[in-house]
Point group: C2
Chain length 246, copies 2
DNA sequence: TCGCTCCTGTGCGCTATACGAACAAAGATC
DNA sequence: GATCTTTGTTCGTATAGCGCACAGGAGCGA
């Protein structure tokens, strides 16, 4: 365990949303590191060109994107699914995405956006809480029940809309339903006006590797119609991909 | 300078395209680090959940995307430009992007894709060589002449298509032209069938911060028509953004 | 089967790094 | 303007990680 490395990664992650420019003490507070340690890490980042330093504040530079890019360009999944995603998205005229689970969050690894339906901009690397996203439900449902429960318990579950399901028993029931029917439907739980449907992506050994979804404006496509309209197309893509995965 | 941290970042970057799974010795070779050092860094990555280890090979996990995400969500530029990009892209019916310079490469920091025109998939974090991309020409043209020349000299310049300009004098002449006319046009230098036009994005102090482009299929929009069709729209967006930048 | 090569894992001196406290400087509060 | 807080920085010391060297395995061809 190279603790200097681990500390440095903590420092990078300290630059979260709404905190683009941080002073040494900010980073020390956010990471729990000693100020002297935080300073050394930040100066190292600056020296290597991953951060800018104006004498007071540090800010990450685009060079930091190399780190995530290493994953997106090197990992088979994003590159394999992208053409399928493009085809699917064009065929149904809606955005579609693939994501994987990281803790209690889903991480977008590929996306084909048709037009913008969400207020926030999703792209590879974006994260959403799993409990209220269609792909998140699918991925949680694939875990052993107790593992899913434990993840949900440890996660703050805020209600983004009046329809967001936040209670643990309700969510566990929902996961069971998803597990049984093989897909998940979300009706404006993350954002009003947005609904989506997701299916699991299985690898050649039948394990759930990722989830695939289609998102649509609720005004045009009621949540109740999602399965009728899109489920076949989603399943087609999933089964085309299965032999290619791993 | 925390050398353990610096070494760790090198290790992450060792996972490039076409090399998703690396053994310890591979990483040591790619980074020039001692095997024992590479091993410690890799085990640290695995312990923190940034990498998987099957006893033989290491592979990055999606958690690594948190690092780049810290930049994309925290930095003002990507968040500010995205809505403008969406509007522009929808208006002209073509993909548009914003990128910044990192060494001799451009890095996409935001993108609104209409339909797929390129064989490769571009997304935030993607990189292209600056010398043969429209945004790259704009960004290079904004540098002091000698700095641009030095960057181009040190970069391998391969011809992706028969039209790619690779000779240093020719490129320098091209940069002078771009500097004079205030925009750059690329006609199938990166990929056959694809042309694009880019303008600089200035901050409120008039410095070039980034570049904005529109890409189009050459079959539908000849390169000669790009300026007539899109230059006004690009300039409009650039001047709307200027007061908002920094 | 025997060498040969390449790989991984590990132990050990030596160096460099992190720690914690102490110091100086700059605001903040009254 | 004096006091209190918070900031960035410095410094000596204990320690953790570095690189080298060696041992055990796996794969490969003769």
């Amino acid at each position: 365990m190279v603790s200097g490395f681990a500390r440095g990664l903590q420092v990078i992650e300290a630059f979260e949303e709404d905190r683009p420019r941080l002073a040494i003490a900010d980073v020390a507070k956010a990471t729990g590191l000693d100020r002297a340690t935080a300073r050394r890490c930040l100066l190292t980042l600056a020296e290597l060109g991953y951060a800018d330093y104006d004498g007071k504040f540090f800010a990450l530079t685009p060079k930091i994107l190399r780190l995530g890019h290493a994953y997106l360009s090197a990992t088979p999944l994003p590159r394999l699914v992208q053409p399928f995603l493009d085809g699917l998205s064009e065929k149904v005229g809606q955005s579609s995405s693939v994501s994987v689970l990281d803790g209690a969050e889903i991480v977008y690894v590929a996306r084909a956006s048709q037009r913008r339906v969400m207020s926030i901009n999703l792209m590879p690397g974006s994260r959403l809480p799993a409990y209220c996203a269609s792909m998140g439900r699918v991925l949680l449902a694939a875990l052993p029940v107790e593992e899913a429960r434990s993840l949900l318990e440890q996660t703050p579950r805020t209600a983004f809309t009046p329809q967001t399901k936040t209670e643990l028993p309700e969510l566990m029931t929902e996961l069971a339903k998803v597990r049984e029917q093989g897909h998940a439907v979300i009706d404006q739980e993350l954002e009003m006006g947005l609904c989506s449907i997701a299916v699991p992506l299985l690898d050649s050994r039948g394990r759930v590797m990722a989830a695939l979804n289609i998102g649509a404006p609720a005004a045009r496509v009621p949540a109740a119609d999602l399965a009728d309209r899109y489920l076949d197309a989603l399943k087609d893509v999933a089964s085309s991909l299965q032999p290619l995965l791993r």
